[in-house]
């Protein structure tokens, strides 16, 4: 999922602001029959039902099938539950997926917050231009951009040479993030790629919520003798929470399912659950096991998101 997806969210939030009186007013447009909304919704609803809801149910069902690609698949009561043993077998990849997704979400937040703050409060007439620059990386194919990191992090490239010289790689190697003399094909390069790929998904929602904030609130806090740090912690941060929650979800969910960064910037030693699922489908062609893994991935993410959103207690998401 790439693209100005987030750009849309930002635009949306701006638009909503411009006319708070607008919004879902009672049927004023075309036709006033009580059936009109259903007629408008039916084609899209059917599409989503046929190609999103039913497939998801089928995924669950398929994980209980037995058979193989050559001999065909069949369902025998009570289902082939042994596929779910693969979940335990690939626990390391599951763990790595969520760890890497969590780390990259954290890094995204750490990088995006200053940038979003800068654009929202300190950019003046450059605001529109900077926003375009934030989504500009999306304009090139993300696979090509990810491949470019192979050049940047090459073993004899300037970045890694410097890191070796400054012994940064040695320190990171102690944390098992890199090897002692290289960055490519290590956990760090995968996390870095994930962070890079999903950063705009964090910047735009953060910007949208910071931009809605009244800057005088910070001034008020400082008039009341708060230090800049306290003002950030007690005023700006809580007010930007909807953006933080939206941004972390938009980063964490796709990152947990991603296998492109692990494939292009890593090795099998750092593969994530997405790599396993894709291998099970296309290399091993064990569709039922692949379905089981895929289903568990979705379920885990849904559960995590549910508890996260409940804890964050925001309703401004959908």
């Amino acid at each position: 999922m790439s693209g100005g997806a987030v750009a849309a969210t930002a635009v949306e939030q701006q638009d909503i602001r411009s006319h708070p009186g607008g919004g879902a007013t009672e049927s004023k447009g075309v036709g006033t029959s009580k059936w009109t909304p259903y007629i408008l919704l039916t084609p899209g609803f059917l599409w989503l039902a046929l190609f999103f809801i039913i497939p998801t149910v089928m995924l669950l069902l398929f994980s209980l099938y037995s058979g193989s690609l050559d001999q065909g698949y069949s369902f025998e009561f009570p289902g082939n539950w042994s596929t779910y043993s693969a979940v335990w077998e690939y626990r390391a990849q599951f763990f790595r997926s969520f760890l890497f997704a969590g780390l990259s979400t954290f890094f995204c937040l750490a990088l995006a917050y200053p940038l979003a703050y800068f654009i929202a409060f300190k950019s003046g007439k450059w605001k529109a231009t900077l926003l375009v620059l934030v989504i500009a990386p999306f304009f090139t194919s993300f696979l090509i951009r990810t491949l470019a990191w192979k050049t940047i992090l090459a073993d004899d490239g300037p970045v890694v040479t410097f890191m070796n010289w400054a012994h940064i790689t040695n320190v990171l190697a102690l944390l098992h993030l890199t090897e002692t003399d290289r960055v490519l094909n290590t956990p760090l390069s995968v996390v870095l790629g994930l962070t890079y790929n999903f950063l705009p998904f964090m910047v735009l929602p953060l910007y949208a919520s910071l931009d809605r904030m009244d800057p005088r609130l910070v001034e008020a806090a400082q008039d009341l003798y708060s230090s800049p740090w306290t003002a950030l912690r007690k005023v700006t941060w809580p007010l930007s929470l909807p953006g933080v929650v939206a941004g972390t979800l938009l980063t964490f969910i796709p990152a947990a399912g991603d296998y492109i960064n692990a494939e292009l910037l890593g090795t099998t030693k750092v593969s994530m659950i997405g790599n396993v699922i894709q291998d099970q489908f296309f290399v091993v062609t064990d569709y039922p096991t692949a379905s089981a893994l895929s289903f568990v991935l979705m379920l885990t993410i849904l559960v995590l998101v549910f508890f996260y959103v409940r804890r964050a207690g925001t309703e401004e998401l959908v």
Binding site: A24, M58, V132, A136, I144, L249, G257, L264
Partner: protein, 286 residues
């Protein structure tokens, strides 16, 4: 904020000020810390793009284009000399256009339905639209694949198209819905007051006002479809779209022509966005 920072510090702890207040270049950096970090992050975001453009002028030694060898225009002048590249590009453009058309038609209807009416199942519809956006692509792709396998439906251009319309749909609904919700209701009331009937009001007032949202949604849907890899990979059979081509190239050897396409994409989309911005600014002035 820098000045208020200083005054706050003065008022709070004047004793600290004299001892701990930084001076010289350190103070200069401290006062501009947020813009500096912000620009560094932007640099991080742009670094790969510089590399992509630069390496489109490279003449690599081996099959892979990861190391700088020497400057050359070869890749730019012989774009289609790499087998399959231009075909995949063409296919991606066609799929992108068709998927956009499908998603925009279905999505705009849904957006009007959800934004303009209160009905039983409205919040359910919102949730349904939100769900595909909150599902990892690998799950979406694999579940569609199992569905097509169960139906014994051959994978190819049709299945790619079906999948792309599906995941673009939600983004179109969200974008257009926001535009409708942001409309000033008084404009429609004014049209009605001037004896325009519902149909005229819709086509002469409402629709033109929503149109920028639809255009934005189209661009978004096109870029999502054009750049999609994961869902496509699961449902393409042996069909090769441009991202699939790049993926294959990453395994077999990356010709600099790939970077040329990347650079062209960047230039074209940047031009479109800049034109849109200029148009918008003129409209605001008018």
């Amino acid at each position: 904020m820098a000045t208020t920072t200083a005054t706050a510090a003065q008022q709070e702890a004047p004793a600290v000020r004299t001892t701990k207040r930084p001076s010289g270049p350190f103070r200069w950096v401290r006062e501009r810390i947020i813009p500096i970090i912000g620009l560094l992050v932007l640099f991080y975001m742009f670094l790969p793009i510089f590399v992509v453009v630069m390496f489109s002028f490279n003449q690599p030694n081996g099959r892979f284009n990861y190391q700088w060898v020497k400057f050359s225009f070869d890749a730019w002048t012989n774009l289609c000399s790499v087998g399959g590249l231009c075909e995949s590009l063409q296919l991606s453009l066609v799929i992108g256009l068709l998927a956009t058309l499908g998603a925009v038609i279905l999505g705009t209807l849904m957006a009007f339905g959800i934004a303009r009416y209160r009905f039983r199942g409205r919040s359910g519809s919102n949730l349904l639209v939100f769900m595909p956006m909150a599902t990892p692509e690998v799950v979406m792709g694999s579940s569609l694949l199992t569905w097509f396998v169960l139906l014994a439906f051959a994978r190819g251009t049709t299945t790619i198209l079906i999948a792309h319309v599906m995941f673009c749909l939600s983004f179109v609904v969200v974008t257009v819905k926001a535009r409708i919700a942001g409309l000033d209701p008084r404009l429609e009331q004014a049209a009605m007051d001037l004896y325009a009937n519902e149909r005229t009001t819709f086509w002469r007032v409402t629709f033109p006002l929503v149109l920028p949202g639809i255009v934005g949604a189209s661009l978004l849907a096109f870029s999502l479809s054009f750049d999609d890899f994961i869902v496509t990979n699961f449902n393409s059979g042996s069909t090769v779209t441009f991202p699939m081509f790049v993926w294959g190239a990453a395994q077999r050897g990356t010709p600099p022509q790939i970077n040329v396409v990347g650079s062209l994409m960047f230039i074209v989309s940047l031009t479109i966005v800049l034109i849109a911005q200029v148009v918008q600014r003129r409209r605001k002035k008018a």
